[in-house]
């Protein structure tokens, strides 16, 4: 019908030519019938050509009569070719409809400070649609990247709401400097410091959690030096570019979506009940030859213990509830486009009392007052409220898995009297074993509220001018402001030292991060075939963090701290830190006839973080690509539709360290000793004015392919990255007077392969497509200078750097077996001989944090209005160190941890072939002076596959939509983390516990220590648009 109309219209035009000169004019429209500005129209075989104006119109005059072939092109759209017969004197109207390019090779990819067509990119970049991030309800947007891009490792922190993920691109190349990629939103490197508030309550604050995933249009993952080179000293761990949504389509559009879901943990801790615990405890007591009634932890009598059975896990977990509402409104016209978004999310995790609520708004717009100028604004405002619960070692579910024993009641069962007969505790009061509230996680939760509140606004304003035809100059100013505040309220009864006190505490900080840049782009085509693009820019970034004085209100608090209360104490300790970067950069692209590509990139960075001698660094990269299918011998060959060979080499750096790492400090304390003031050199580190950049040199070789008319596409890559001058916060000899020192020591090599394939296997009425990626990374410490393996440790986690081994090696005593006759544990010494003695001298490298391979596979099925999607992620190899099992499966000490039922498989009598040794209350019987010993008995294979997402969707029929006046409508149900296949005996094989610092985060993501398992959720979603 449509076609017929168009034809008749054309015919009509034919009849009504005006016959002055041979002219063709018309309008270029996109698939939504919107006019397209700047589309190129060319007469094939000539130099004649033009572009469409603001109304999408073009006019080509003085054409030769006869057959004329017109080529219409626009980046991101399929090229259209139209041949017309032009009579002498004819003015022909030729409108054209462009179709967005289904060909992946022509889609636009955001690169640093610009965009390129995918086919023209010579670096390694993975583009992800924002929608993909929204498929799975995640605690924070970066978590949605998991399994989507080869070489991108994402480990979800825990099941806590708002939890951070550990994100690594192509392995780990840094140790003490942050190993996370650089996150850039709409051009501004954003604040992403996980340690702004340290590791508080076993939980690091995640500054990315306040970013609304629904605002994201696309994410580009920049992997190799060619792609990241333009970010110079900050690109060596990869870059994640985030582009937010803008108004695209003419007219007024509204999209609304909501998601509702419930969640439970992926696994439930198997802690012993009271009877089991007492039985095992008694067995240990008897084994040790001890007599009488066993003395129980917390001064609990055997009788009381027998009459109590608290299931603490049940008490702290429930069913989580997630809800999400997103509203997007956009409008685009001839000279403007606007997008406005509003979003609310409340993720109550399965841990009772834990939730993350995000409210955010966005306004993005572009305005083109003239042909040569454009103003763009991107602005967002968000608030994240995190109702925090202590994690891991600090309490909550962690306590239920450790120090909260089943023999402890939640409440006193009867009145407790002192010697004089006075009531100390009434029946029904909370019971505090050993006067320690953390052993009663219910009381800890009910008597204390911790809430952190993050307000954040990320804004860019850019002005773009086109003073010459091929020259574009853009100036951008960006501000990323974050205000973070943590409130704690302790009700009466919480503070064990002062049971009548109710207290409130507050910490606050803000980060003001701004960025100014000016970039000039110049395009030049010489003799049609030589295409050149030049880019040059200058950028300044400055980030200021103010740590406001801590405030407290003791004794009389009635809720979160009220600043107006006269009794609020301010510790007067305000701190301010600042760092900045000044950079100059440039890029030259050349291609010959769309066949041979060369790109050169250079960036010179200066940073306040380094000593005067080493303030500046220069980071060059070069890359080349060859589109083989453009060669005559492969052109139009069936089978191979696209083949590109590309390679790059370049150097970039990492500077993500403490802004003042180069300095040493003196401290002063008043009334310090004998009432006197003292000053002293701070013992944490000496000064290092020679501190310099960590640099990586990366080589990359890759093939991009498209087969059978691009029904199968993909990429294969090999890379090798050598990092030198690695920034290490080394542990120094204590006898130096210092605890640690910053130094550029050592080297790390990452080498790997990546493979990705996407295939439309069935493409008829029933559609089936598969998207698969896998990556293997080999990581090795190549040098450590004069330091030993004790110099760098991953926090409390017994991971080390050892030459020839991967970063973050589990350095442990080897456990051999349980001796059948005696039940004693037998270890191996360094030489591999059996020994009863557990000694730290016998530690060897036993396991590695990094998996052998990892990836994702996705199957999409579509039939009519139904679609089904199944997304698995997998990790092959790599180890998990189940650190808390040294206590949960170890000795029964008076300190009192509950044990896991796995320990039933222990030695009981001679001849037993048991996994775990004889039960004991003293470490001596396990050959050790300390009860909690690290051995490879707690080290497990980390292989797993997880059904990350299973969803079924239905698009409502047009007939119905018309009735209710909707443009689109879709409902879907999904299950997330539904199935996990693994041999890991702990809770969740996907772990990354709380971290003390960046070193810990780089070296110990494979350690679990009472870490809350991920959420398993079931969700219902509704999306409508009109």
């Amino acid at each position: 019908m449509n076609k017929l109309l168009k034809l008749s219209f054309l015919f009509f035009c034919f009849l009504h030519f005006e016959g002055i000169a041979q002219t063709i004019k018309g309008v270029v429209l996109d698939e939504n019938k919107e006019t397209m500005i700047g589309a190129a129209v060319r007469v094939s075989g000539t130099t004649l050509g033009t572009t469409t104006d603001l109304d999408g119109q073009f006019t080509l005059s003085n054409l030769t009569p006869g057959k004329v072939t017109l080529e219409f092109s626009f980046v991101g759209y399929e090229k259209q070719v139209k041949t017309v017969n032009l009579a002498e004197g004819q003015t022909l109207v030729q409108n054209i409809n462009m179709a967005a390019n289904a060909n992946l090779m022509d889609e636009l990819v955001v690169v640093g400070y610009g965009v390129q067509r995918r086919r023209d990119v010579s670096g390694s970049i993975v583009k992800l649609d924002g929608k993909e991030l929204m498929e799975v309800p995640t605690p924070s947007f970066e978590n949605g990247l998991q399994g989507k891009a080869s070489g991108l490792q994402v480990i979800t922190g825990s099941g806590a709401a708002g939890s951070a993920s550990t994100v690594r691109i192509r392995g780990v190349a840094s140790v003490s400097a942050g190993g996370d990629p650089l996150y850039v939103i709409d051009g501004i490197p954003i604040t992403q410091d996980y340690f702004l508030n340290g590791n508080s309550q076993g939980m690091n604050n995640n500054p990315l959690a306040s970013i609304n995933p629904n605002d994201i249009e696309s994410v580009e993952v920049l992997k190799d030096a060619a792609a990241t080179g333009i970010y110079g000293s900050r690109g060596s761990n990869g870059v994640i570019l985030i582009t937010t949504k803008r108004g695209k389509n003419k007219g007024f559009h509204v999209d609304f979506s909501t998601r509702q879901g419930i969640s439970t943990p992926t696994a439930r801790p198997n802690m012993m009940n009271s009877k089991q615990y007492l039985q095992m405890y008694e067995e240990a007591w008897v084994n040790d030859g001890r007599l009488g009634v066993p003395v129980l932890p917390g001064n609990i009598s055997w009788e009381d213990a027998n009459n109590t059975d608290t299931d603490w896990v049940d008490e702290v977990i429930g069913v989580g509830y997630q809800q999400n509402y997103d509203l997007g409104v956009s409008h685009a016209g001839k000279k403007h486009n606007v997008y406005g978004g509003f979003s609310r999310q409340n993720d109550q995790s399965y841990m009772i009392g834990n939730s993350y609520e995000r409210t955010s708004g966005r306004l993005n717009g572009d305005y083109m007052p003239t042909k040569w100028a454009k103003v763009s604004l991107s602005s967002s405002l968000s608030q994240g409220i995190n109702n925090r619960l202590p994690q891991g070692f600090a309490g909550g579910l962690g306590a239920a898995m450790s120090q909260a024993l089943p023999i402890y009641p939640i409440f006193h069962q009867k009145d407790v009297l002192d010697d004089d007969g006075n009531v100390i505790n009434k029946a029904g009061d909370y019971f505090f074993p050993s006067n320690d509230i953390n052993r009663n996680p219910v009381a800890a939760r009910e008597l204390r509220t911790i809430q952190s509140n993050e307000n954040r606004s990320i804004n860019n304003l850019s002005l773009e001018f086109k003073p010459l035809k091929d020259l574009i100059i853009t100036g951008t100013g960006s501000i990323d402001y974050m205000f973070w505040r943590n409130n704690e309220y302790q009700k009466t009864g919480y503070d064990q030292n002062n049971p009548n006190f109710s207290n409130a505490y507050r910490q606050s900080l803000d980060v003001f991060n701004y960025n100014l840049n000016a970039v000039a782009n110049y395009l030049k085509t010489i003799k049609e075939k030589h295409n050149l693009a030049f880019m040059a820019g200058v950028e300044y970034q400055d980030s200021r963090t103010t740590f406001f004085p801590n405030q407290s209100l003791n004794q009389v608090a009635t809720g979160f701290l009220d600043e107006n209360n006269a009794e609020v104490i301010n510790d007067g300790n305000q701190r301010f830190t600042e760092w900045n970067f000044l950079s100059h950069f440039g890029r030259v692209n050349y291609n010959y006839n769309g066949k041979y590509y060369v790109e050169l990139v250079g960036r010179r960075d200066g940073s306040s973080r380094f000593g005067r001698n080493n303030k500046y660094g220069f980071f060059p990269s070069a890359s080349a690509a060859w589109i083989i299918t453009e060669e005559s011998f492969l052109k139009d060959k069936k089978g191979v539709s696209f083949l590109k060979l590309k390679s790059s080499i370049g150097r970039n750096g990492n500077s993500n360290i403490d802004p003042y790492a180069q300095y040493a400090f003196f401290g002063q304390v008043n009334n310090a000793y004998n009432g006197e003031t003292i000053i002293f050199p701070n013992a944490d580190r000496p000064a290092n004015p020679n501190l310099r950049w960590e640099t990586s040199t990366t080589f990359d070789l890759a093939v991009e392919y498209g087969l059978f008319n691009d029904r199968i596409t993909g990429e294969m890559a090999y890379y090798r990255k050598q990092t030198n001058d690695v920034l290490l916060n080394v542990a120094t000899q204590f006898n130096s007077g210092f605890g640690s020192a910053w130094a550029n020591v050592g080297g790390i090599r990452n080498e790997g392969f990546e493979f990705a394939i996407k295939a439309n296997i069935i493409d008829r009425k029933f559609k089936w497509s598969v998207d698969f990626n896998i990556a293997r990374n080999n990581n090795q410490v190549t040098s450590l200078g004069n330091y030993t393996e004790e110099a760098i440790s991953g926090g409390t986690n017994d991971t080390r750097l050892i030459i020839g081994q991967p970063v973050g090696n589990n350095y442990l005593v080897r456990f051999s077996h349980v001796e059948a006759e005696t039940g004693r544990p037998v270890y191996l010494d360094k030489q591999g001989n059996e020994t009863y003695e557990w000694s730290v001298d016998n530690r060897v490298s036993t396991g590695a944090i990094l998996p052998d391979a990892m990836g994702g596979i996705r199957n999409d099925f579509r039939f009519g209005r139904f679609d089904l999607s199944m997304f698995w992620v997998f990790v092959i190899g790599g180890d998990i160190y189940d650190s808390s099992s040294k206590r949960q499966l170890g000795t029964f000490d008076q300190d009192g941890w509950n044990h896991r039922t796995d320990q039933f498989d222990r030695w009981q009598q001679p001849g037993d072939d048991a996994t775990y040794p004889i039960l004991t209350t003293t470490p001596e019987n396990h050959g050790s002076g300390t009860p909690w010993i690290n051995t490879d008995l707690w080290l497990h294979d980390g292989t797993y596959a997880r059904l990350r997402n299973l969803s079924i969707g239905y698009n409502l029929p047009d007939s119905f939509l018309k009735k209710v006046k909707l443009g689109t409508a879709r409902i879907s149900i999904a299950a997330n983390n539904l199935i996990t296949l693994t041999n890991f005996i702990g809770l969740d094989p996907e772990i990354s516990r709380d971290f003390e610092n960046a070193t810990d985060r780089n070296m110990s993501p494979n350690i679990t220590y009472l870490t809350a398992p991920q959420q398993k959720s079931f969700t219902f979603s509704l999306n409508v648009g009109f």
């Binding site: 009488g292 900045n580 000793y673 000053i679 000899q733 204590f734 007077g737 002076g929």
Partner: protein
Amino acid sequence: MKFKIFFSLIIASITFTSCSEDFLDKQPEPTASQFLANDAVKNKEDLQRLLISSYDVIANTYGGQVQNLGELLGDNNDSPVSQNDYLQVFLRRTDVFNGTLGSVYRNAYITIYRANQLIIKKDEITDISEVEKNQLEAESRFLRAFTHHGILRLFAQPAGFTQDNSHLGIVMRMSASDEVGIRSTVAECYDLILGDLDFAEANLPEENGIYATKWAAKALKARIFLDLNDYSQSAQLAGEVINSNRFALLDSLNRFTAGPNSEQIFATVSYNQGGVTDDRGGVFYNYRSDNNANPTMRTNAGFYSLLTSDTNDLRGKQWVREIVVGGNSTFGVARFDRTFMWIPLLHLTEMKLTSAEALAALGTDVLTAQNDLNDIRNRAGLGSLIVTGPDLLEAIRIERRKELCFEGDRSAQIKRFGVLGQPSFSRGAPWDCAGMVLQFPGQENTVVGFILNPTGGCN
């Protein structure tokens, strides 16, 4: 036109941003509690403040932290409860991960680093006399010697373990430098420590408020010469301190008083004035059994009965108590059942016992030895003992064990007796088994070349 404007703007911005080096100098702003190290010490007052910072660390590490380790290796104590680092020490199986040891060790070298900094910085200050400089240096070197010796006692086999003391001692930090720390031999360690103390003795004043004096230097030397079994020097120095008549035995058994007392030769201060309360009793309170049915630190049945066997012995009544829980007896310590105390680190009682033992062993002045012994006995409610020869020596040593119990002295004496060739054991372990020496913290071993202690051998 517009083209020109924008090009000029770009060029201007590049030029502007290129030429400003200071742009990238972001120094931390000084606050009341923290400032850059470069210009931290400007005058005499700063030097004095830096000096007191060393005393401050000593007060933090000698509030039982060091003393408890000396006791846990010995035979006065029972297994500590719910303190696994202490348990390792008690079991004589310490390793590089023992955080409690690490902290004691680290603090010692922080004290030493500060003292060394002071020795350098004093020469950079102009408003100060040579005499003042010498006193600052003398105090610094006293603190350095005191600290080195405390660590040497715990982390190395005693003097006499090898004939020429060529066995490994500790790292002697005699200046603030960034050189790799390598362990000196025990002979070198004692030479350096005594060198510091000679300087201190010569340049410290006789009176110095609560801070180190000439008498403190002499008392420490007396202690060290006893460690070396050098009785004549030990007797000489202890005698000088006793005969100075600046110090007097207390009538009470309690020398852990809430303020200064006449026995203290060198003590750390708990401060309570003008609304500032700063109690440096530290981990001595881990012994408290008056408010805790399950104290971390406790004594054992053997030592309990030694103190209580003579019912007249006031120490048996005042310093220990039996705790019965669920029919099981354990033995608590009552000596530190208080909340605020000064810690005597060198005191007259020790000097008397040191002098007595040295004189008894030398046989030169048995009467003074008897008198000193009986001064201590009488105060504890026991009658005078008139014995001579080996009996006197034995009586003095038993008295020393009782009187200095929980003050950190015991394991050093067990080792010394072993060096003297006597059968000497601590809870069944020979005095010289490897585990009787504490392991260094792992951080010492972060550079190639440091040698850790051997482990094990005590079980």
